[in-house]
């Protein structure tokens, strides 16, 4: 069966520090992968999605970047975090019938 791993669960980082969040999927090949961000009590904002290795689509201009170095690995990065980067980050993969399966999320606090 397919599983998705996302880590860390929580992260507190100072402004200006770098960021690397990792997401891996098991049990499927060539999945579509997604990074979403959720502000407190709000909906999900699509940040990046990828349909294959090295193929990244960015949805909004921002301080973040994404990479897909391997088929089932999706990484969210920043060189210098801003206060506005705080939020709940969710990775997801797309299964059959366009359903998304989400990881458990990373709560990022930038101080």
């Amino acid at each position: 069966s397919q599983t998705i791993h996302q880590w860390p669960a929580t992260l507190v980082q100072p402004v200006g520090s770098p960021l690397s969040l990792e997401c891996t999927v098991e049990g499927t090949s060539n999945p579509n992968l997604y990074w979403y961000r959720q502000a407190a009590g709000r909906g999900l904002q699509l940040l990046f999605y990828s349909v294959g290795i090295g193929q990244i689509s960015s949805e909004v201009p921002q301080n973040l970047s994404a990479s897909r170095p391997q088929d089932r690995q999706f990484i969210l990065s920043s060189k210098k975090l801003l206060l506005s980067d705080s939020g709940f980050y969710l990775c997801a993969w797309q299964g059959a019938h366009e359903k998304l399966f989400f990881g458990s999320g990373t709560q990022l606090s930038v101080l």
Partner: protein, 110 residues
Amino acid sequence: SQQGEEDPQALSIQEGENATMNCSYKTSINNLQWYRQNSGRGLVHLILIRSNEREKHSGRLRVTLDTSKKSSSLLITASRAADTASYFCATSHNTDKLIFGTGTRLQVFP
């Protein structure tokens, strides 16, 4: 930008009552999905309805879709305290993207 808008933003009911949440969207869709999120957790898929379908059932869930009004509703019958969560609609278009709405926070009191 977000495609869907849920209504109401928050809903409080007693156990046993029905809960109805609505979702409106802006452009044509391939399908519409509903997800549930417990506080601080990832989202879980509940049900998918295709653009050529009008109603779908899954257990205590009933989803309707009106493409002429660009709206959908999620009905949870005989609600339980365990149904307390946020519920989101998400729409799929002619791309690989799934765009989520703003969500409805449901509180079910025992």
